[in-house]
């Protein structure tokens, strides 16, 4: 009998903690349907012509990739706080991590009010209901930025983001190693590498992250290939196995001649580049800042012409800032997002960190960096291929990576790309 008493006590303890926990979840950010009225009714309903005013007592939390952007964020936040007297807390969350973090932190009430997203994540965020549309500043955003950047920040015809940079892939070259070699076409690069390569001593003419399919798409698009039809929007038209894409992959396969390595061994690329053992390095525009600090002079080649085709067109995406739909201060968040992505701020950002502005500016815009790297990339952006932003894109890279691995090993490009297309199709068909 006493044993039973003990059990009663035991369950008591459990019960108490259960009750405590139950209460905790109850007071969370969830809403009962009974009171699922507007949890975020703004005290100042903004009409068509009213000025957007920040909520009184607003305080914002801002996620961005501070490792590279610190000089800019410090500057922009100071300006913003001076002008609006709103405190902003910055946390270091990369744009590529934002979606995952806000999915859990948003509903829990500890997420950021404004965070960065890259092209492929926008659709995810919209589909999960994590971001608010860019409504108040819509016209301004569309006027200032390049159409591609606006498209990348939109989903289903509604603009969500406040674009602030564009990124693409390009060829960095080490001026001391390349000297005055002619590098106008890919054939030139192959010829140059053949005489420059010294595989025994780890010297290479050209290297790229070949196992990473977004890099390799540049060759497909150069021959008229694409991932999805209608400018990367029509998921029923898969172009990874059309004639152009296969031709591009055939060319890609021929690069093994000058890059006689396994895909898994290419991780040393960054190290060789910094040691000055690599002449031409395919990388992203996000490395402009890092590359301007190297001990040797670096230039950027525009993507050269492919044999019997156009210039290789690398994918180009855009990063924007977005307002969380869980924000307690949506108005202040919108004002802030717009403030740090204005044209002037984008130019300042380029000056401080090297990021390429999403704004429609010419190379000679006053305030922009005038070095070779920025100039080269500004040219490159103009002839690039838009990054697909539809949610189905997530199936693409995995299938392409497999195909590329086989092609690099010497398999027939046509067969492999057909297989990849088949996989993407079946993934899209099976998605629920």
């Amino acid at each position: 009998m006493k044993k039973k008493l003990g059990l009663v006590m035991l369950s008591t303890t459990i019960m108490l903690s259960l009750a405590a926990c139950g209460d905790k979840t109850e007071t969370g950010a969830t809403n009962q349907p009974s009171n699922a009225t507007n949890s975020q009714t703004n005290t100042n309903e903004t009409g068509a012509n009213d000025e957007l005013k920040p909520e009184p007592g607003a305080e914002l939390r801002f996620w961005t990739f501070t490792t590279d952007l610190k000089p800019f964020t410090d500057y922009a936040l100071k300006e913003f706080e001076q002008k609006y007297n709103i405190k902003v807390i910055v946390e270091d969350v990369g744009y590529w991590d934002s979606v995952g973090r806000i999915t859990t932190d948003g509903p829990a009430g500890v997420g950021a009010d404004v965070f960065g997203l890259q092209t492929p994540d926008v659709a995810k965020a919209v589909k999960a209901g994590l971001i608010l549309p860019n409504d108040y500043y819509e016209e301004e955003t569309k006027k200032v930025n390049k159409p591609d950047a606006v498209a990348a920040a939109s989903y289903d015809g509604i603009l969500y983001g406040y674009p602030w940079n564009v990124y693409t892939f390009g060829l960095y070259y080490n001026k001391e190693l390349v000297k005055d070699a002619k590098l106008e076409t890919w054939d030139d690069i192959i010829a140059f590498s053949k005489q420059f390569n010294d595989v025994k001593n780890n010297k290479f003419g050209f290297m790229m992250d070949a196992g990473n399919s977004p890099f390799d798409v540049a060759f497909m698009t150069g021959y008229g290939g694409y991932i999805f039809g209608d400018n990367e929007t029509n998921v029923n038209d898969i172009g990874v196995n059309n004639e152009g894409s296969v031709k591009g992959m055939k060319f890609f396969q021929s690069l093994k001649e000058i890059l006689p390595l396994e895909l898994s061994d290419l991780g040393v690329r960054g190290g060789l580049w910094e040691q000055g053992k690599l002449a031409i390095n395919m990388d992203g525009s996000w490395s402009i800042g890092a590359n301007s600090k190297l001990p040797f002079e670096v230039g950027v080649l525009p993507m050269p012409k492919l044999p019997g085709g156009d210039n290789a067109k690398p994918l180009a995406g855009s990063t924007g800032y977005y307002v969380s739909s869980y924000s307690k201060y949506p108005n202040a968040a919108k004002i802030f997002a717009n403030f740090i992505t204005s044209k002037e701020m984008q130019i300042k950002n380029n000056e401080l960190t090297g990021a390429l502005p999403a704004a429609a500016v010419s190379e000679s815009e006053p305030g922009l960096r005038t070095d070779d790297l920025t100039k080269g990339y500004m040219k490159q952006i103009a002839s690039s291929h838009i990054f697909p932003g539809v949610p189905e894109t997530s199936f693409v890279w995995d299938a392409l990576n497999s195909a590329i691995a086989e092609i690099w090993k010497g398999a027939d490009p046509k067969t492999e790309m057909d297989k990849a297309a088949e996989r993407i199709k079946s993934s899209i068909a099976n998605q629920k």
Binding site: V8, N31, S394, A403
Partner: protein, 447 residues
Amino acid sequence: MVQQLIMDQNLSKTKPYRKIAVVLSVIAMGLGQLYNRQYVKGIILLAFHAIGLYTFIFRLPHAVWGLVTLGETKTQLKKVGRLYQQILGDHSVYLMIQGLITVCAAFVLIYIYTMSIKDAYQVGKRRERGEQPHNFLQTARFIATYRFPYLILAIPLVGVFFFTIMPIIFMILLAFTNYTSNNMPPAHLLDWVGFDVFKDIFTIKQWSHTFYGVLLWTFIWAILATVTGFFGGFAIALLVQQKGIRFKKVWRTLLIMPYAIPMFVSMLILQNMFNGHFGPLNQYLGLIGIDSIPWLSDPTWAKVTLVLANFWVSFPASMLLIIGILSTIPTDMYEAADIDGATAFQKTRLITFPSVMYSMAPLLVMSFVGNINNFTIVYLLTNGNPVNGDYQFAGDTDLLITWLYKLSFEQGQYNFASVIGIFIFIILSGFAIWNVRRTKAFKEDLQ
């Protein structure tokens, strides 16, 4: 005093304490205890009754509704003038978790209810026998003295409940929903889809092919990893413990090194060592004149590399254990064997090996189970690569657990990941239960 006793006995003959206490307790928790003059206990239980009523009337209907429907109103954007506003609806995942907690709480309350009735009955019975019911202090003291283990166990039990059992139930439930990255709450509501996901895994060719392939490799890997680690450690322990080996301490210290370096660091170093072109290993092979080996880029070689790397980090632990066991084997056994003219091999086979296995067998089973789930080494060394075009989101060296990771973190296929999680859970718990049941402690407990 004597009179008192007689009166009590008379009372007990006339008063059916048991019945009244039970009836009262059925009406409301604690009433029976109050009737039994156990006032504090009664009040506490009455408080529970109040909590119970509140839970059953106000919380349970909503919880059950949430669990059954997983929400009915979608979250929507509404345009007010120029601005959009988010109208929050139901969040399926939260409804699921809350529903789980509430339903579990309801079960606990029902359990307490039955216990309180039993308690009222027992105390009533004792009163009929003429004993004085304990007052609260006595009860408390009794629990603190005789039921102390229960009291202490209650805390970890709560932890187990919330951090082990609840998440497992939650994961199992997810396997029956359509929770994928294309259908994310709060913008979408989840639905129960029954066994559809299980069906898909076994009927859609790409999924089933991947599942069988990964499962097979997981088991092969677990066997190879366990066996190589154990026998490697065994052999080295025998070597180090040989008579006539000098500086035993030095060797032991050197050999424990791989274990002392954090796995993260070793794996990153090994990744460079095994690099097909720049790795020192292939460089040395080249010097001898052997063609470079595709350590990480060929499916079969990548598997071999994994086993080798695992051997490197796991043999020191078993070596240390076995050295410990070796020192406990009585030397007179070996002396007797020597007199009988046994060879070294016979001594190892007939004396050393059985003695070691006697202590190591349960540990071997546990390390086998651990290797089934050896996420770290695969993730850090090969990340499941080389990629396999016929697999769905998996590479050639992916184990079930790393595939699960890729499915949930990289592909957002949460429901598929849950199904894989259920399989892993079944495999591991099967082994764990079997292993515990074999242990001496458990067997003695049963007798």
